[in-house]
């Protein structure tokens, strides 16, 4: 167990440091002068010189990188060039929208997908199975932003039940906040549900074919009991894997969905930052997202070892 975790932790460290290097290279070194990137090539020399001084861009790249990382360890991400406020503060505000959106859709998707997947597997090659598979095939093909637009047309434009977008802030009452997040959460969970349903279904079908399930039935367990006691835990491993992969999908999904519903989340922040060429915001937000993906996958690895005792001795 300890070697497994140690190796995973090492991988995790390597990945996260690699990610920060890549972000830094792509934003501040490869395109050339960051000051020009931020101001545009037509900017007057004096402005360029000013911003160089302000952001310390006259220092060598390696020094700037170390300063950035050292700052991160102290919880400092620097000042937003456009808003002139600490980037940590900006991100903190925006996460109040993004986190509920991401976690909410993941939760909705997991619950729906597990039920649908198990239902389809237990009705293999019957009408219920075909229905679920058809739904998930459609869910995979529908772009989530278009699905969002369709929901807006239906619930906001035609029915007037829910707001077409925007977010009032949690200060305006829990219900109003939840109401404005309902369509986004539903939108984002569609494709996640579709993918997870497929994986759950096939994992359950696969495990159900294993010899030990036959053993369980030979002991006198009913199909249902064999499913709950023997199949599901073994089927969890592939479902966990896809869950880890989907975290990346959820995060990038929030970027898109926040734009569809005009939600003031991190996704909106980053696209505004791109148009404003606010490098400070872009690099820190991208690193934050990459870090979340890596951390979640590290946690998935630990979960594996908890679910499947065999993994503890493999590496």
């Amino acid at each position: 167990m300890s070697v497994f975790l140690a190796r995973r932790f090492l991988t995790f460290l390597i990945t996260i440091s690699g990610a920060s290097v890549i972000i830094f290279l792509l934003l501040e070194v490869l395109p050339g002068d960051p000051a020009l990137t931020m101001l545009g090539v037509d900017a007057p020399d004096s402005a360029v010189a000013a911003i160089r001084l302000e952001l310390g861009l006259d220092r060598p790249a390696a020094v700037r990188y170390v300063a950035w990382i050292a700052g991160l360890f102290q919880g400092e991400m620097g000042l937003s060039y456009v808003y002139k406020v600490p980037v940590t503060e900006l991100i903190g505000q925006r996460l109040q929208v993004t986190l509920p959106l991401a976690i909410g859709s993941m939760a909705v998707a997991t619950l729906t997908a597990l039920s649908l997947g198990i239902f389809a597997a237990t009705n293999h090659n019957r009408i219920g199975d075909y229905g679920v598979m058809g739904f998930s095939q459609l869910g995979l093909a529908i772009p989530d932003f278009w699905f969002g637009i369709l929901l807006i047309i239906l619930f906001a434009v035609i029915l007037h039940w829910l707001p077409s977008g925007g977010f009032p802030g949690w200060d305006e009452g829990l219900w109003r906040g939840v109401k404005s997040l309902m369509l986004p959460v539903f939108t984002l969970s569609l494709s996640l549900t579709a993918v997870m349903t497929r994986v759950t279904r096939s994992a359950v079908l696969e495990v159900a074919r294993e010899d030990f399930v036959r053993t369980a039935r030979a002991k006198g367990l009913s199909r249902r009991a064999a499913l709950w006691r023997h199949v599901l835990r073994n089927a969890l491993v592939p479902v966990l894997t896809i869950g880890g992969v989907l975290v990346a999908t959820v995060l990038t999904g929030t970027l898109v969905i926040e734009n569809v519903f005009a939600l003031p989340g991190v996704g909106k922040l980053i696209f505004d930052a791109i148009s404003n060429r606010d490098l400070m915001v872009v690099k820190n937000v991208v690193l934050l997202f990459a870090a979340i993906v890596v951390v979640v996958n590290f946690m998935v690895d630990i979960l594996y070892a908890m679910v499947d005792p065999r993994i503890r001795i493999q590496t």
């Binding site: 053993t215 039935r217 030979a218 065999r310």
Partner: protein, 323 residues
Amino acid sequence: MALLSVSDLTVELQTSRGMAPAVRGVTFDLEKGGTLGVVGESGCGKSVTALAIMGLLPDGARTTGRIELDGADLLALDEEARCRIRGNRIAMIFQEPMTSLNPVHRIGRQIAEPLRLHRGLRGANARDEVLRLLERVGLPDPARRIDAYPHQMSGGQRQRVMIAMALSCAPDILLADEPTTALDVTIQGQILDLINELVDDTGMGLILISHDLGVIGETTENVAVMYGGTVVEHGATDRLFANFAHPYSQGLFAAIPQVGAARTGPLRTIPGTVPELADLPSACSFADRCARATEICWRQAPRMERIGPDQRTACHHHGETAA
């Protein structure tokens, strides 16, 4: 009355080419405390017969005939009633002790499962019973092993765990499907001895399925030789092994290189290959590989005939000597 009586059992399985008969008209009895060996090559229907007795055939399989346990037809029972019999009155062990145990559960829990299900044992009571069982099947250091996972054990130890599991509710019948095929010879000896001993001690009936004539010959009193989904020869083991009557059993017997036998020329072989379910000849399933086959063998399926005390065979030409 026999403990288990199988009569005219026919099983059809779903294949990519439609329904194919895997077992055709199999009939045999097992007395209380009796031992029956079922021997045959791959695809002969021996495992399908066992699964039919357990009621664990794949989806879409069609079963006809009768399987009577103490006079009650199992095929007439509903699924719930069959669940009460499985693991309780009829238990089964399988070929691959590695894949037949759930990798994510400790073995103690897996052995306790039938105890909880059929006897309502829980907690410390169940654990004590599991420890007793592990000791009974000769697993060294049961107090420590009870909390092990299957992957932490050797093949022989895992098969002992399977046997403990099958034994837990003191079944009337033990079905063992190639229980030693995946094991080494010396371990195979240990397991066969264990099964023999348990049969003698508990008085349960044993159906041992194997492709190995030697294993069957040493373990069971009666033997049924299967080919192409049917029993071609059946009788007391000693008598059969002394004098096989069916050309298939004769060929099988002659094809095995035996340890210490004087080497006299090449081994006798059966021409052709083991057939697939869907390709079986419709009358005598052995006709296309049989040296004695005549026109009648292609036209009419031979019936089981008594050819001596404790020996029956299904061959139109059983009286004739081989060409």
